[in-house]
Structure formats: C-alpha cells, structure tokens
C-alpha cells in the first residue's frame, strides 16, 4: 500500500512536468512541493471522489493556493474525475483546464486563484456542516507566502470563534515565493505561534513523508473544539535536482533537455522504490 502511494507521488510529478512542458506554462515549483499532501489527502484521508461528488456528505478540499493547479489536476484525473488525456489541453484556447482551479473541471470544489480566499470559503463550509450536524471535513491548502493576505487572519479568527474542529488548513511551507524567500519578502514566521495564538491546534510535519502525513491527518481533529493547522515542511521543486529550492522554478518551464533530465530523474526514483 505504502509503496503504491510512493509510486503515485513520482507518477504525479512526471505528469505535472509533462503537462506544464506541453502547455509551456504552469506553477512548477509549488505543484511539486504540495503534491505529496494532495496524494495522501485524496488517496488515504478524504471521503470524496467521482461517485460521491454530488453528495452533501462528501469531504471538501479547497485549494487556496490555486496557482499550483497542475498538482490538483493530475490527482483529480487519477481519482477518475476526468480522463487524464484532457490535460493535453492545459492552458489552451477554450479549455476548462486553465491556470487556476475552476468548477468547470470535475472534482474542483471552488474557483480559486486570488490568494487569501480559500480559508473563508472553507470556514463557511465547516459552519454549514456544524449547523447541519454533518460529519464531513473541510481541507484547504495555503502557501506560506499567501499568509500575508489579511483575509486569512479574518478567517482564522472566525474558525476558532466557531470552534471548527471539522476544518483542517494546511500550509505548504516551502519558504519561497515568486520574488524571493518568504522571510525576505514579508516574513510570515512564526506561522505555528501565530495560529496557536488565534486558537488553532498546530502540528508540523515533513510534507514529503507520506507515512508521517497520513499519520498526522489520521489524528484530526488535533483538539476537540479547535480548528487544525498542518504546517507541511516542503521543498519547492521537490524531486527534480536542479529545481529544488531554486527561486526561478516558481513558474519556470523546463527546456527540452531539462525536461528529459527531469523525467530521467523521476524514472530512476521509480526504479529505486
């Protein structure tokens, strides 16, 4: 089981690069940093898929850092929401597969893209679950740079005020944003202390350790009556030697040579499993 999850992570990375390379556009580094979190959520934790996406009882996932849509699209395709071949149209004229999540793509819960929106949306869903006495969980993925958006902190206040222990926010803590390291742009550290002071229960985890991620999410809620925050310590560009922790791969597109090297590195990783 665990081996297959590890295999999926590598396969997802191969597909993220394949479609970004074909589209000549995409958010490469962040998609590679958050894809392990998505892998664990969709394959091990959340009760959501094509067969129950219309159900009011499904778990919800809102990707607040919408620009890392390529990771979401390959995972949704793998879940069977749509044929993976449709990703060939990524960012092309009249395609639903644009550079941010839209509900025109099956499996996407909310349209996102402007940063600082996902947490409020998720708080609304989590309040609705409490009102309706439903036990679904709401997950939202944010970036560490995104935490500079003030609306997140409005939502963080409301989440603890309403004791939303059915809400789990995840920070893809890769420490880089488009123009520089997050600590140099507008330092959002210490993230854990900030959320704790807002009434959240916080757990930090290696965001590429699939077992640790699964074990962490299985402990939800981390405290009764409190919203949960997972700080996933990740590496931007994870899995590709020349992309890891390198700023320009925020939305860099590999050349032909770079693309082939990246696929070779991932093939080697598959063989090493």
């Amino acid at each position: 089981m665990k081996e297959s999850l590890a295999k999926k992570s590598i396969e997802y990375r191969k597909r993220i690069l394949k479609y970004i390379y074909k589209a000549k556009a995409g958010h490469t580094g962040g998609s590679l940093s958050c894809v392990d979190v998505l892998n664990v959520l969709y394959n091990r934790i959340m009760n959501v898929g094509p067969s129950n996406f219309d159900s009011p009882d499904r778990d919800r996932y809102v990707q607040s850092k919408g620009h890392c849509v390529e990771a979401l699209f390959v995972v949704l395709a793998d879940q069977g929401f749509f044929p993976e071949s449709e990703l060939e149209t990524l960012c092309q004229y009249n395609s639903h597969f644009i550079g941010h999540p839209t509900r025109k793509v099956p499996g996407v819960e909310q349209n996102t893209g402007a940063l600082g929106h996902g947490l409020s949306l998720s708080v609304g869903m989590a309040i609705a679950a409490k009102l309706d006495k439903k036990d679904y969980q709401v997950f939202t993925l944010m970036g560490d740079g995104e935490l500079a958006e003030g609306s997140n902190w409005e939502a963080a206040l409301t989440a603890s005020h309403y004791k939303l222990d059915n809400l789990c926010a995840i920070v893809d803590y890769n420490r880089l944003q488009i123009s520089a390291p997050t600590r140099d742009v507008c330092n959002t550290d210490p993230v854990a202390d900030k959320f704790r002071s807002f009434g959240w229960e916080v757990v930090e985890v290696d965001g590429h350790d699939l077992d640790a991620l699964e074990a962490t999410f299985r402990k939800l809620p981390f405290a009764a009556g409190k919203p949960s925050l997972v700080i996933a310590h990740t590496v931007k560009g994870k899995g590709i030697s020349y992309m890891e922790n390198v700023l320009k791969w925020h939305h860099g597109v590999p050349s032909e040579d770079q693309y082939e090297q990246a696929q070779k590195e991932l093939d080697s990783a598959l063989l090493a499993l």
Partner: protein
Amino acid sequence: MDREINMGKANLEVFSETLQHIAESNRDLLVVTSDSRGSGKLVPFAQRFPDQLVEVGIAEQNLVGISAGLASAGKQVFAVSPACFLTARSLEQIKNDVTYSDNAVTVVGISAGVSYGALGSTHHSLHDYAVLRAIHNIIVCAPADNFETEEAVRQAAALNQPVYLRFGKRPMPLLRKDVPFVLGKGRVLQEGKDLAIVATGEMVHPALEAAALLNESADIEVTVISMHTVKPLDTELLIQVAATGMPILTVEEHSVYGGMGEACASFLLQEGFHNRFQVMGIPDEYTVTGSQQEIFDHYGLNGQGIMEVAQQLLGVSQEK
C-alpha cells in the same frame, strides 16, 4: 397623480421582516453579518432565529467568503453589510467567490448611496452599480419602496443565483402596489407622452414628485418608470419608451458615472435611438457634506430639482 402618499417603513425594516417570514418555513435561510445586525434592522431576526444568523465580526472580506462557502454547502445566504464596505472592500470576494464560483449568495448592501449622510464619503456607496455591472453573473437591484423591497427579497430568495440588493435606511413613501414587480422588469408607475423619467431605488419617489410638479405647472405628461433592476436592464421597456421619441431623464442615488443612467444611454445609443437624454445623479467630485436630504437638495435630487432639469431637457420655460 395622487399627491397624498402615505409614509411606510425603511426598506431595511421590510427586508428584515420579509426574511423572518421566509425563515419560518426555511431552516436553510441564513443571514451573515459583520457586526451589522443593528444597522441592518436584523436584531428581531437574530432574536427569533438565533441559529440562522452567522456573525463574523468586522471583517467584510471574510463575510462574503464565508457566505459563499455556506451557499456551496446548500444554505440560502443573505450577506448583509453596509453597501460602502461590502461592494468595495469585499469586491474581490463578490467577484471570485460568489459570481465566478456561482455560489447563490444574496449580497445585501445596507444604508446605501448617501444614506449615512454626514458620516462622509467613507460611508457612501456611489460606485456599487458601476463595479457590479462590470461583473458577470449577478443581478443588481435597488427597490424603491416597501412593496418592491418585499417582492425583491422574496424573488431573490427563490432564485438560485447571485443577487445584489441595495437598501437605504430612511422611511420610504408607499407607492403603487398594483403594478407587478418582477426582477429584471421595469415598472411603469405612470404613463405620459411628453417625457420619461427613469429612476431607480429611492429616487423613484422624487421622480414622481417632479412628474406631479411638471403636470401642475405646465400640463407636461410624464412617464415614470421604476427601473429597480439595474442589471439586467429591461431593454424591452427602454425600447418601447425611446420609440415614442420622448426625452428621457434618468435619476439615481449613485455617481453619474457607470450607473443606471449610463447603462440606459449606452444601450439606447447602440440600438440607434437619439432621444434627448440626461443622466442625474451625484457628480464626479468630493461629495458635499451634510445629511442625506441636504446632499440630495444640493445636487437637485428632489422633486423641484428633477423638475428643473426636466424643463431644460424639454426646452420649456422655467417661469410658470
């Protein structure tokens, strides 16, 4: 026309009462407020239906985002906050989380226009029609009186799509109830052959007063339309009016830029109509200070002022 018009309540009060009626049989109706239940006349609602009011504190972006999340989970949501904040600070949440994501939230701008009078421009919303007209997938409606308010709230609640409702805070005269109200369809409150005054929201009553003054002073017969829905515009009715060749005067409690008047002018010009046309509203300047009525009087947004502009448009002498 009948000059003896009875005073009703503030449209906001009727809004709150109508929501209570709907909530009696609809447990999914939720009101979401940003510390605005008092100014929204929603205290009685909160007392009767405490589980159907979600308070988010003074956080308008969060107000609209949470409302969208609630609507996506099947709730029928009215997001209530002063129009000045709701349609500016949380405009991105209206654009992305409500309209683009197609979450059926009714966004309710209270104490709109210059209702807050001497509180000043931070508290005025003279831009809301303009910004919302340029955003796809939202109906924009400003009811004129208590009747239009009740109908608009009921129809918005029954629709499964984004709506913006705009209310002032002062008591409004009771106008005709025998002309049906349908979102997206203007109401012809009186018919005349010399001039059409197309007004929206709480400017409809002064438009009727101007029509009465014009009739008394110079036998001018005026058509008065309540164009409560600014988007989508009732283009069919506009064509009917313009086809008579009458001059058209529009009146709104909004900037003269980007509002209902410009919407009518743009539509009619592109349809090939060249009626004499004038837009009345708040000019593009630092708004004069004063109470709501003093601001209206300063800019001629009252029966007398509208009559004078109408006379100029008609080319008739202002001497009786």
